[in-house]
């Protein structure tokens, strides 16, 4: 066994805990997880069955943590973990899983398959059987500070634009602010309007906030590729800045996995409770709405629907807030079938958007989103994740559909009443 393979098995062994052991003991191979996964429903190919994706983890569990498995291993009856096996599993674990968590919602015995895929990636990443695109993004995140290679000067340029457009200063590195606002590189590069939107909303509501020049990147390739050490390093940058600037809370941007990374995995990755709170931008906005600090005028025209980003909704718990805010802004709102916690993934989360070899299948499974939108005859789609937005725009183009994709935060900003 090569050193790398040995390290991979070791990494998988580290991941096994009581939930994993109960999940793997409970699976009866009923196949219902396949019916919940868009990679299966849209391709009909059984190789996309979610529970199969965790096979590397299952083998290690069986051979290291069950009496019968250890016996089988001693007798030479256990299926070994080989490089060929992991190579075959690479595309299952990465290309065709967005860790959207839908399978975890339907498993009749209650297996949280996504929880296990996240863990399986820890072994896959170490083994070297990991898509290049994801390695590249992770490398850039660690060395440059952003998976897209965005540096502070690029953000500074966007800030200047905003300041020019709105005529007020965007706070950067302000010590003692209430909120430290994080961004995703996608927002800086593709949707800079988001920066203007939060600046405008916070100015409108009188919120004390700041950006940081040292830690503005919220995304975390470490949790996508499955290397906790790297994920922890990336989270630590934010923690250090939040502590240095003495903020009360860190705001995760319109990005799905960033929220999971900071909000739910963050403290566990760095190994300590945070001295500050972590909130998604939608949670902050809904809080402001409740306090009556958001005064809007006019409503969006046309029949609009909302796409729940998996990591924010199903895996994050932010489900009501977007709907409360949409109520304020949209008169003809329509919920897609399965909307809410059972919403279907756009098909590009969990790092899939960075994997070139996954491009074809990613666009193919977009069919599911298309069907969902067509079912309600949506004329526009609102979401709260830049990655979802980019991929949905991509998908709509592929399927020749002309439907605008909006950011909830940006839409809110547009309807704010001008301050007197």
């Amino acid at each position: 066994m090569s050193a790398r393979l040995e390290q991979a098995v070791h990494a998988l062994k580290e991941q096994i805990d009581a939930p994993v052991a109960s999940f793997l003991s409970s699976c009866v191979h009923c196949g219902m997880c396949a019916d919940a996964c868009l990679f299966y429903t849209e391709t009909g190919d059984p190789k996309y069955t979610p529970i199969v994706k965790v096979e590397p983890l299952r083998r290690v569990w069986e051979q290291e943590f069950t009496f019968m498995g250890q016996l089988k291993k001693k007798l030479g009856l256990a299926k070994p973990i080989t490089d060929e096996f992991l190579a075959e599993w690479e595309s299952k674990v990465y290309d065709s899983c967005t860790m959207c968590g839908r399978c975890s919602m339907v498993c009749p015995v209650g297996n949280d398959i996504t929880y296990m895929i996240r863990k399986t990636r820890e072994g896959m990443a170490v083994s070297g059987h990991v898509p290049e695109g994801l390695v590249g993004a992770t490398t850039r995140a660690v060395t440059i500070g952003s998976p897209m290679g965005v540096k502070f000067p690029a953000l500074q340029a966007q800030i200047k634009h905003v300041e020019k457009d709105y005529g007020f200063k965007v706070p950067v590195d302000v010590e003692g602010a209430e909120y430290l606002c994080m961004l995703s590189s996608m927002e800086i590069m593709n949707f800079p309007e988001y920066i203007g939107a939060i600046a405008k909303i916070f100015d409108h509501a009188g919120v004390s906030w700041t950006l940081s020049s040292k830690a503005f990147e919220a995304t975390n390739s470490g949790i996508q590729i499955g290397v906790s050490d790297i994920a922890s390093e990336l989270v630590q940058r934010i923690v250090s800045e939040a502590e240095r600037l003495k903020v009360k809370a860190v705001i995760s941007p319109e990005c799905g996995h960033a929220y999971t990374a900071i909000r739910w995995e963050g403290p566990n990755l760095v190994g300590k409770k945070f001295g500050f709170k972590v909130r998604h931008i939608l949670e902050v906005l809904d809080e402001l709405r409740k306090e009556g600090r958001l005064v809007t005028e006019g409503m969006e025209e046309g029949r609009l629907t909302y796409h729940d980003p998996c990591q924010i909704g199903r895996r994050g718990g932010v489900l009501e807030q977007p709907r409360n805010l949409i109520n304020m802004l949209v008169s003809d709102y329509v919920e897609m079938p399965d909307g809410g916690k059972m919403n279907w993934c756009c098909g590009a989360g969990g790092g899939v958007s960075t994997i070139e070899s996954a491009d074809e299948v990613r666009l193919k499974v977009f069919q599911r989103k298309k069907d969902q939108m067509e079912a309600v005859d949506a004329e526009g789609l609102i979401s709260a994740c830049s990655n979802c937005r980019i991929h949905i725009e991509d998908g709509l183009e592929e399927y020749h559909m002309d439907i605008p994709v909006l950011s909830l935060t940006e839409t809110l900003a547009e309807h704010l009443v001008d301050k007197e």
Binding site: K13, A125, V130, T139, I225, I230
Partner: protein
Amino acid sequence: MKKHITEAEPIGDDDTLGAALRRQGVSRRSFLKFCAATASMMALPPSMVPAIAKALERAKRPSVIWLSFQECTGCTESLTRAHTATVESLIFDSISLDYHHTLQAAAGHAAEEAREAAMRENFGKYLLVIDGSIPVGNPGYSTIAGISNLDMLLETAKGAAAIIPVGTCAAYGGIPQADPNPTGAASVADLITDKPIINVPGCPPIPVVITGVLTHFLTFGTLPELDQLGRPKAFYGQSIHDRCYRRPFYDKGQFAETFDDEGARKGWCLYKLGCKGPTSYNACATTKWNGGTSFPIESGHPCLGCSEPKFWDGGSFYKALSIPTTEVARDALYAGAAAIAVGSALGMKNRASSKQAKAEHQKVSVDDLNKED
């Protein structure tokens, strides 16, 4: 299973069964009735009745030696203390019972001489009936005239045309063989393998069954068809359960829960009270006892399964067939306690192994990801 047995040569008319019956005052009419009943019991067509009658009429009174070993005399009682004098008992009376402890007048050496004489005179032709089991562990437990049961059996069996173990003790070991079997009791079939054996088990067996077997032997000169336990299929072919008049209650799931509840009064199924009818093969439910009056289930008591091997060791008579015969609850508790100990140990091992894996964690850096193999 059928084995032909050399028919005894008739010596004279006086020695035939027909003559003996006539002497006892049995009318032709009741004799034919008996033949018809026997035919139907043995599932033979009515056309066979005259043949049976003819064969029985002409049959020589066979010499029968009856040996009693470790027994309670219940079998003899069953056969001889029939409620009324029946043709069956007369048939029984009609055989030439040359030796029977309980019934013979002779005693001591005279009795043993009678046995030896019968063996000599009818060597190869007499029927040997046995009741009681044979102590093999220590033959001293049961002796007759200083001869151990085992020796007497082996000696007497030599010249027998066929052996009929009567009662469950002789057929399968019965109560003397019950756990812990202190005498090392064995059945006839355990000890004799070179003679035709027709088991007539029951504790005691039904009288008509024994005369039926005799009738068959006298009529056809052959052994009746036997089941795998050596019992005549004609009498032991169906289970008590399958012929039980309470069967419809079983099928509907109506059970007596105690001996004096509503169900018991209504005559519901006795399964829950431990009835072994479902696994017991005997003719009780059809021929019944005491001249066709009743049988245990009819009088409200579950079947004990007395015609089956090991019936005494099959768990409580009053516990249902679905209940295990061993102390499962106690064993499960012990197993559970042991499992907690072993499970904790394995669990600790798992924990340690997991902890060690985490302790040995090698930090993964970007360089590791970009490493070429």
